[in-house]
């Protein structure tokens, strides 16, 4: 059983609300990740080009915070203590809207949130209780759903360009751009930081007056607190994302830092305030390389971010256990191999549990859900599962360094491998792109966006 409970004071409630509003500009759902010391809310946009994440620190942000994972009793392995779910943002927002900063007697004095997940329970809910003045208590129960939470990985140490600026200054820059502008190009030109808004939508010929306005704003480098940017390198991001970040940073009064390397590589905007660490990783466009992209910035086809690393594939209660693994089934390019081990440590418990929980029903499920991917044939079906789990098992041992941690559940699953899958021994050589001894920490350096 997993339980999460936390309390927020009125100022933190405002912060949480602001963060949710910001996240709602990226996605309709917010992913909630609970860890013993951190609660993280994140959102990935539908094109997977923008990822927003807010990490709230246990001691600073919350009045009270406690998280107990189902696993902790057995293993004591801290790195596995995570809980994932996702919630429709609008549902959460509607609770907080208008509850804050009222001079009424019934203003919210504290907000308690609780979540208990129990495999035995058919109904699990996120409970939000608003403790208001005059003894008024408002309770809400929200449904949430299990999720495959994905994180964009950004290696700050590799960033070659960075700037830091006050959000109000950035806001002033943004205000010059037309409302319909879609993209924001930035570059440095002889002592000036130039921000240009443009729209890639090409309206041909006759509709001249509907052509978008090009706006460029050239600010002095000294208006930035720090400005270390490669000269004349154009990097373009989605203006809407930038606006969302700046307007939130402004409410938090936090100085924004941008880090990036090259066009078509990710860019990260980051700021910290009051125990909150906000990170926004967005994909950039532009001329990837002087050689291989002769087209102009405007004409460049936007590249999507590579699919972010799934750090949790499926939680035990997921009713469709094989969907996510199946999507990874086609022979992945080398790179996705190399990042795959990240599945390892975090999902170890889930996968192993899934193995034990779901396997009894597996054949039925596979016919129902997997028919697109594998014939409803028992042997192949086991191949399927095998391919998915094996590297994770092997890597997982190394990553966690504690073999005993989930020994019990893994052992439950293992006999079934050896019994039913004769080809299993050969698989590692065919399938593995990584030496099984590679450590997770090493793997992280080959992050998603490198």
């Amino acid at each position: 059983m997993t339980s999460l409970s936390l309390s927020l004071g009125p100022p933190a409630l405002v912060r949480l609300h602001d963060a949710l509003i910001c996240l709602s500009k990226f996605s309709e759902t917010v992913a909630i990740e609970a860890e013993p010391d951190i609660l993280r809310l994140s959102a990935l946009n539908s094109t997977k080009t923008g990822f927003a994440s807010f990490a709230f620190e246990k001691g600073v942000f919350f009045e009270a915070y406690s998280f107990n994972s189902s696993n902790s009793g057995r293993s004591g392995n801290v790195s596995l203590d995570r809980f994932f779910c996702q919630i429709y943002i609008k549902a959460l927002l509607s609770i907080f809207r208008g509850r804050i900063d009222k001079n009424k007697d019934t203003a919210v004095e504290r907000c308690d949130m609780e979540l208990h997940e129990d495999l035995q329970q058919t109904e699990c809910r996120l409970t939000v209780r608003m403790i208001c003045g005059l003894g008024v208590i408002k309770s809400y129960k929200l449904t949430y759903e299990p999720a495959a939470i994905q994180h964009a990985i950004f290696d700050k140490s590799k960033a070659t360009s960075m700037w830091t600026a006050d959000p109000r200054f950035l806001k002033q820059l943004i205000e010059h751009f037309s409302v319909s502008a879609e993209q924001l190009d930035m570059y440095s030109d002889s002592g000036r930081a130039v921000f240009t808004s443009f729209t890639t939508k090409i309206t041909e010929g006759k509709e001249v007056l509907k052509h978008p306005v090009h706006t460029s704003v050239a600010a002095d480098k000294r208006d930035f607190q720090e400005y270390l940017v490669e000269e004349n390198m154009h990097v373009a991001i989605n203006l809407k994302d930038f606006k969302a970040v700046v307007s939130h940073a402004e409410t938090a009064n936090a100085t924004v830092t941008a880090r990036y390397t090259r066009p078509c590589k990710p860019l990260q905007l980051e700021y910290r305030f009051e125990g909150v660490n906000a990170e926004f990783t967005v994909m950039t466009r532009g001329q990837a390389d002087n050689d291989d992209a002769p087209t102009s910035t405007r004409a460049t086809i936007p590249r999507q971010t590579p699919v972010p690393v799934p750090i949790s594939t499926i939680r035990p209660r997921d009713p469709r256990p094989s969907v996510t693994p199946s999507m990874q089934m086609p022979p992945p390019p080398p790179r996705s191999r190399s990042i795959r081990p990240l599945n390892g440590s975090s999902t170890q418990e889930n996968l192993s549990q899934k193995a034990s929980v779901d396997r009894p029903a597996a054949s039925g499920l596979s016919i129902e859900f997997d028919s697109l991917f594998v014939p409803a044939d028992d042997d192949r079906q086991w191949d399927e599962m095998n391919e998915e789990e094996e590297p994770q098992d092997i890597l997982g041992w190394d990553a966690s360094g504690t073999q005993d941690a989930f020994g019990a559940s893994i052992r439950d699953a293992e006999p079934s491998f050896s019994k039913q899958d004769s080809s299993r021994v050969e698989d590692p050589e065919d399938e593995m792109g990584l030496p099984p001894t590679q450590r997770l920490s090493q793997v992280r350096h080959y992050g998603l966006f490198d």
Partner: protein, 371 residues
């Protein structure tokens, strides 16, 4: 073809474009040596013909215009131009020029925005820095993130796509011809007029759908307040005109009275202003004799005691359209309304702050709806 100028008064220009953009998107802008003309002819609703002396918005000393036809005609999305001009607020140096990029003609607006900053955190103190605040700006240092107070300079470029119109394309366009008006009168404070008009329009809009226009019988003369009376007395209900939004009845006489009214089945309201000015006509434009023949002068000579019915001219105008027309009030102009009974309302809008020479004048042509 060449056009380049510094802006003298970007705020007036911006407010002007804002008011114009409420009437329509596409604006025909005609750049001449002495005046800039803005014309908006929407598919329906009020059309406006504005003639602004170059010096009102542009800096005459830097104004450059070269064209074979002595004028440049362009078509511009006026709301886009207005949005772009917002960047010029509070700037000391703003240039507008005609240019070309990828074979697309553009109006390029280049703004040097300078504002005083405390330095710390590179904050701007306000948006209205006029750049004249400090004659001795602190010498800037070269370090990034300079912490001392200093003047911050930002260059902003707005490239507005436009269409060049050939002279032949605009030859056929001319201002509408109207009969001589029966009444001309200076409108009261536009803010007041607009808020009352909007209030009336809103009341009639929230009214039932079965609303039918009724002819409003004039109430007692000299009434300064709003009067309510229930419907039923004399509602000459006729078919609803094409546009379903409420119609305001605006009427005036040559004795300083203006009356704004609305009538539906459920309500009738009217506001009356008195003691307004009926300005004299310019004697330079016609002879005394001709002038005395004009219907407005005939009306002026009518004795007020003849009864208020006789000298009134009335038009029925669309409430929402009227509200958009009145948005010109942001420039606090003087407005002369000319009533052609049951046919049209022509507004001559004179912008304040005219220097010598030609006046800035916007002419609005508003059709009267029939009952």
């Amino acid at each position: 073809m060449r056009f380049r100028t510094q802006l003298r008064d970007s705020r007036t220009f911006s407010k002007l474009t804002a008011s114009l953009s409420s009437l329509g998107k596409v604006c025909w802008m005609r750049l001449e040596y002495e005046v800039i003309r803005f014309t908006i002819i929407p598919d329906q609703g009020t059309q406006v013909w504005a003639s602004i002396p170059v010096g009102t918005i542009f800096d005459e000393t830097t104004y450059q215009l070269e064209s074979n036809s002595d004028a440049i005609n362009i078509e511009v999305n006026i709301s886009v131009l207005n949005r772009a001009l917002r960047s010029a607020w509070g700037s000391t140096h703003t240039q507008l020029r005609l240019t070309k990029k990828d074979r697309t003609p553009l109006l390029a607006l280049t703004v040097l925005s300078s504002e005083w900053t405390d330095g710390n955190m590179a904050l701007a103190t306000n948006n209205d820095a006029d750049g004249l605040g400090d004659p001795n700006p602190v010498a800037p240092t070269d370090t990034t993130g300079d912490q001392g107070p200093r003047e911050r300079q930002t260059w902003i470029t707005q490239e507005i796509p436009i269409k060049i119109l050939h002279e032949s394309a605009v030859e056929g366009l001319h201002e509408p011809h109207c009969p001589d008006p029966e009444v001309h009168i200076i409108l009261p404070n536009l803010a007041q007029l607009k808020s009352i008009s909007d209030r009336f329009t809103k009341l009639a809009s929230t009214d039932s759908k079965s609303r039918q226009p009724g002819v409003m019988a004039p109430d007692a003369p000299g009434m300064q307040s709003v009067s309510f009376s229930t419907a039923g007395a004399s509602t000459a209900a006729t078919a609803l005109s094409t546009n379903s939004s409420p119609k305001l009845e605006l009427s005036a006489n040559m004795h300083g009275s203006l009356r704004l009214a609305i009538a539906t089945d459920e309500l009738r309201i009217a506001s009356v202003w008195t003691d307004l000015v009926n300005p004299p006509l310019d004697p330079a434009q016609m002879s005394q004799e001709q002038m005395s023949q004009l219907p407005s002068e005939v009306n002026r000579k009518r004795d007020a005691s003849e009864g208020f019915e006789s000298g009134w001219a009335k038009v029925r105008i669309d409430g929402k359209d009227w509200s958009r027309v009145l948005s010109i009030g942001r420039l606090s102009p003087k407005v002369v309304a000319c009533f052609v009974n049951e046919m049209a309302l022509v507004l001559y809008v004179y912008l304040p702050g005219n220097r010598e020479g030609e006046e800035s004048c916007l002419t609005y042509y508003i059709n009267s709806f029939t009952t």
